[in-house]
């Protein structure tokens, strides 16, 4: 009983601004999932109701992890990691194929995306590895370990294939290493080589002649780096927006029109023509392209509200990192914030056409059960760090 009261007192120390931001984002998400599906007649249970249910489950996890002492992660992070890897392997064998990729595992009629669980597992494990139990700072032999351990789920996710989700691992691991105190030089070099690789791939897709590549070379190159045709198409569409506006470029083009025609104030809730008339494909409007629906209907103002909410979330999360009582807390917060931020940034950038289309959801807003629960679970961990901040 005493224990329980102590726990409740912990809740009072929670970062209420962050909770408010989280709930606001969830509400925005539910509203626009409703808008994106309001013209649909085919689904028996409405997606927004499902999303509310998922949010409730997620919020329970959120308060649960807030109360749970993150320092006990040391005991369970390996277990969690192994489970995630097993799920990622399982999805390759037993996964349900949707739109050509095996990303889903069905548990009693509920679809789970192991790739989302994998991200969190890597963050949790990373936080433990980068903060030795004995407060022994200095060289970090575990840095390479982390790369190796992050590499396993990352490769498995790429195999699904889900390149977008796989790439999210990189900035997350980088940020954690950076804050953990890894030397800046190798990190910068890693980032630089990453950028170089991306430039090389883009060049190989767009300007093979400049690189002195014949079509045969090009094919061989793509085979070597395992760039699939649809990925190549997406890159080409990104580089040449006018190309094939009815085919691969459709989502991107329609999303841009939706965003652009929103203007300053938008067309009003439920009034987005792009969305309602089905120009924005109905399969992606409530999920990866939900931000397009928001921007069309609420305009620049609405988009800025969402953008600011993420800004506040990032500030709150990193503030928790700053006031954390130990290194593990700091790195945990940075990792989680980076994960949420990367998703949000890449998703919004893709929606307005400044990044190629990759299937990455908008955290807390896009429709999707696994990611909603995982996000809230992770954000709960930030609260867990915050309520146990130094000075308790």
């Amino acid at each position: 009983m005493k224990e329980f009261l102590h726990q409740l007192r912990l809740l009072r120390r929670m970062n209420w601004v962050m909770l408010l931001v989280i709930i606001s984002l969830i509400i925005v998400g539910v509203c626009f999932i409703y808008s994106a599906t309001s013209m649909r007649e085919d689904s028996t249970t409405d997606l927004y109701v499902k999303q509310i249910k998922w949010a409730v489950v997620g919020l329970v996890c959120y308060f649960g992890t807030t109360l749970w002492d993150y320092r006990r992660l040391r005991d369970v992070s390996w277990l969690f990691y192994v489970m995630a890897v097993i799920l990622l392997v399982a999805v390759l064998f037993f996964g349900t194929r949707i739109y050509g990729a095996k990303r889903w595992l069905m548990f009693m009629g509920v679809g789970v995306q192991p790739s989302e669980i994998g991200k969190l597992a890597v963050i949790l494990l990373g936080a433990c590895l980068l903060s030795p139990a004995a407060e022994k700072y200095g060289r970090l032999p575990s840095m390479w370990w982390l790369f190796l351990l992050a590499g396993v789920p990352m490769l498995l996710v790429m195999k699904e294939p889900d390149l977008g989700s796989a790439l999210v691992y990189l900035p997350v691991v980088m940020a954690m290493l950076f804050v953990a105190g890894a030397r800046a030089k190798p990190l910068v070099m890693l980032v630089a080589s990453g950028v170089l690789a991306v430039v090389l791939v883009l060049a190989a897709v767009a300007l093979p002649e400049r690189l002195g590549m014949t079509p045969d070379h090009q094919e061989a190159f793509f085979r070597t780096i395992r760039l699939s045709d649809y990925q190549r198409d997406r890159i080409e569409v990104f580089l040449h927006p006018g190309k094939d506006p009815m085919g691969t470029g459709w989502n991107k083009r329609q999303s841009e029109i939706a965003v652009g025609s929103g203007g300053l104030r938008g067309k009003g809730f439920l009034n987005g023509t792009q969305n309602n008339l089905g120009f924005l494909p109905r399969t992606v409007a409530p999920t990866d392209f939900i931000f397009a629906v928001i921007m069309e209907e609420m305009g620049f103002m609405g988009a800025m509200v969402v953008l600011s909410l993420y800004g506040v979330l990032v500030v709150c999360g990193l503030y928790a990192a700053m006031v954390a009582c130990d290194k593990m807390g700091r790195i945990l917060c940075v990792g989680i914030v980076m994960m949420v931020f990367t998703h949000a940034f890449v998703n919004m950038a893709m929606t307005i056409g400044v990044l190629p289309v990759v299937g990455i959801p908008l955290p807390l807003v896009s429709y999707g059960g696994t990611f909603m629960v995982i996000s809230l679970f992770a954000l709960g961990l930030i609260q867990s760090v915050y309520v146990r901040r130094s000075g308790l």
Partner: protein
């Protein structure tokens, strides 16, 4: 702990760096958003509007078909439809509610008008999904009574529109059905609909002149642009291009003669063609039994279609052009022309007819078993003496006869603008070798000379022969269509009179044959005497040809005729199935036809004057 304190400071510094990078990136995103949504908003707005414009294909009024006296044979009649405009009925919330509301109103109006709507719940859903900005037609071809009940009632009419759809109608019902054909719903090709999001039902010709002249009658479809608002409803509309009405087709057919022609064969399977021998105009072309095209539009009932096609009497077949018959004795004038023109005989050449003709040891019977006695050309034609014509055929040879048959247009299509025209057969030794793998014998020549054997003709071809005999040797191409006029009556195309050839005849030959044909009708003993009418001198030739199983003894009765004898204005060919003989079965029918025509003529004269 100093070292630890330093690392903590480093970590905090680096967290700040991460924070600054993140906020910087969010700011960058905000700037890009501003650029797209505010600065370049116009640009996207424009492409959005372009997207929400829908093009609707508007059907053009179909051209009409007139007879030579401007009597309308194929017309467009308003068909009153009742349609829902879903934008006015749209219920708040889910579409399900709107559908339920539409169904409720359908039920209400069903009761009021006493007619069931033609749409089901699925149709409503389909309409919402595919054709939302268009009216949803729920009742078609409403009659006056239903309309009156509707207008007098106090039922809520918001969102309900009475609207008029042009419907093909044939005012004279069966008249010229085989010529006109009928229309059905257009099967649009992808090309037709390219660029259009919506279209309304259109009609296209499926048979007869409706099909042959579909291109000119169909006109040019119009185009309407509709701007769709957020919920898919019509927001504003603009007529971009008015539909261009199709052109009218003017036929050479004289509706009144056509009606007469149809009436004289309506009780028996057969065909009749009336031509103007002076220019080849087809004044009437009838086939029996017939059908009513009005029953086939706007939608062809499947059971009726099956019934029409399985009927052994073939009501859909235009026997005047698509069926071939053995001509029998009506071919004899052609044999006579061939023999006379080849110079092997003169008109005075005579033969003694014992009632049969021996070829080798086989006797070919003359139809009169007692024999005709001594017959010359004139009497040979009048009596249709087989022995006389067999003799002529053998004398001039089969080649002279087949050449003459081809010259008068047999064995090839006349080129009339109708479906499935048959060409018939003019047998030659080469033909027999090719198809029957046998050589030509004298017996073949004998059969050929009297219009039997492999020789086959269409009634239209025999009408051309009759016209050629009537005008003294000019073979005209039958002219069914006089021209095409636009909706205002300006001529677009005129189809000229076309002479195929002038027969290369020795002077006097035609006169001799015509004299014989005159006697067929006018002489007291002539085989075609039953066709005679008071006051008009006519000429003709009867014929009877067996068909089907020999045991059935079924015969086609034929007669060709032209009148008046001196200055012919009408040339006729008629065939009927299951006849006793040409003279007995066809003669009286032609009598009725010619009586009618010459009465018609009097009124025509007044009209012309």
């Amino acid at each position: 702990m100093v070292a630890a304190g330093e690392t903590i400071i480093l970590e905090l510094k680096r967290i700040r760096v991460v924070l600054i990078i993140m906020l910087g990136l969010l700011l960058l995103l905000g700037t890009l958003l501003f650029d797209i949504q505010v600065s370049r908003s116009q640009e996207y707005e424009a492409s959005l509007h372009k997207q929400s414009l829908r093009r609707i294909r508007l059907p053009a009024p179909r051209g009409r078909i007139f007879d030579r006296n401007k009597i309308c044979l194929a017309d467009n009649q308003p068909c009153y439809c009742l349609a829902f405009n879903l934008e006015d009925i749209r219920q708040a919330g889910k579409w399900k509610k709107t559908v339920a509301e539409v169904q409720r109103r359908i039920g209400e109006l069903n009761g009021l008008m006493g007619r069931k709507a033609i749409i089901s719940e699925e149709d409503i859903w389909l309409h919402i999904r595919r054709r939302l900005p268009l009216p949803l037609v729920a009742w078609r071809s409403l009659d006056q009574a239903a309309l009156a009940r509707l207008l007098e009632s106090s039922v809520d009419m918001t969102g309900v529109d009475i609207y008029v759809e042009p419907n093909r109608a044939y005012p004279e019902n069966e008249l010229a059905a085989h010529l006109l054909g009928y229309v059905g719903k257009t099967d649009f090709s992808d090309e037709d609909l390219a660029g259009f999001q919506y279209y309304l039902p259109e009609m296209e010709g499926k048979m007869g002149l409706e099909r042959k002249f579909n291109e000119v009658m169909v006109g040019k479809p119009g185009e309407r642009l509709v701007r769709i608002d957020a919920s898919g409803f019509k927001h504003a509309e603009r007529l971009v291009r008015a539909p261009k009405p199709g052109a009218n087709v003017i036929l050479a057919i004289d509706g009144r003669i056509q009606a007469l022609a149809e009436s004289v064969i309506k009780d028996v399977p057969g065909a009749v063609v009336v031509m103007d021998p002076n220019n080849g105009d087809v004044l009437a072309l009838a086939s029996s039994p017939t059908f009513s095209p009005n029953q086939l539009v706007p939608v062809l009932p499947k059971t009726l279609w099956e019934q029409l096609n399985s009927d052994p009497a073939k009501p859909m077949l235009n026997k005047a052009v698509a069926e071939v018959y053995a001509p029998g004795s009506i071919f004899k004038p052609v044999t006579a022309l061939a023999a006379l023109n080849s110079g092997v005989i003169s008109a005075g050449f005579s033969v003694d007819c014992p009632g049969y003709f021996m070829i080798g040891n086989k006797a070919m019977k003359c139809w009169n078993p007692n024999g005709h006695g001594r017959v010359d050309l004139r009497r040979g034609i009048e009596q249709s003496c087989n022995v006389y014509f067999i003799t002529l055929g053998l004398k001039c040879g089969n080649e002279a006869v087949s050449d003459m048959a081809k010259l008068v247009g047999l064995g090839e299509k006349t080129g009339i603008e109708l479906d499935r025209e048959a060409s018939g057969i003019v047998p030659t030794p080469e033909w027999k070798q090719k198809y029957w793998h046998d050589q030509w014998r004298n017996g073949d020549t004998c059969n050929f000379a009297i219009g039997q054997g492999a020789l086959s003709v269409t009634p239209l071809q025999m009408a051309v022969v009759a016209a050629t005999l009537a005008n003294g040797g000019e073979v005209f191409r039958p002219r069914l269509v006089l021209g095409v006029q636009d909706a205002e009556g300006n001529a677009l195309t005129n189809y000229p009179v076309t002479s195929v050839r002038r027969l290369p005849l020795v002077p006097g030959v035609m006169q001799a044959v015509r004299r014989g044909m005159h006697d067929v009708v006018m002489a007291p003993t002539g085989t075609g005497g039953r066709a005679r009418i008071p006051g008009i001198e006519m000429a003709g030739k009867t014929g009877t040809a067996e068909y089907g199983e020999k045991a059935d003894r079924k015969k086609h009765g034929w007669m060709i005729l032209f009148a008046p004898y001196d200055k012919p204005r009408y040339a006729v060919a008629m065939v009927v199935d299951d006849a006793v003989s040409g003279g007995l079965t066809v003669g009286p029918r032609l009598h009725d036809l010619m009586m009618g025509i010459f009465e018609v003529k009097e009124t025509l004269k007044e009209a012309d004057g």
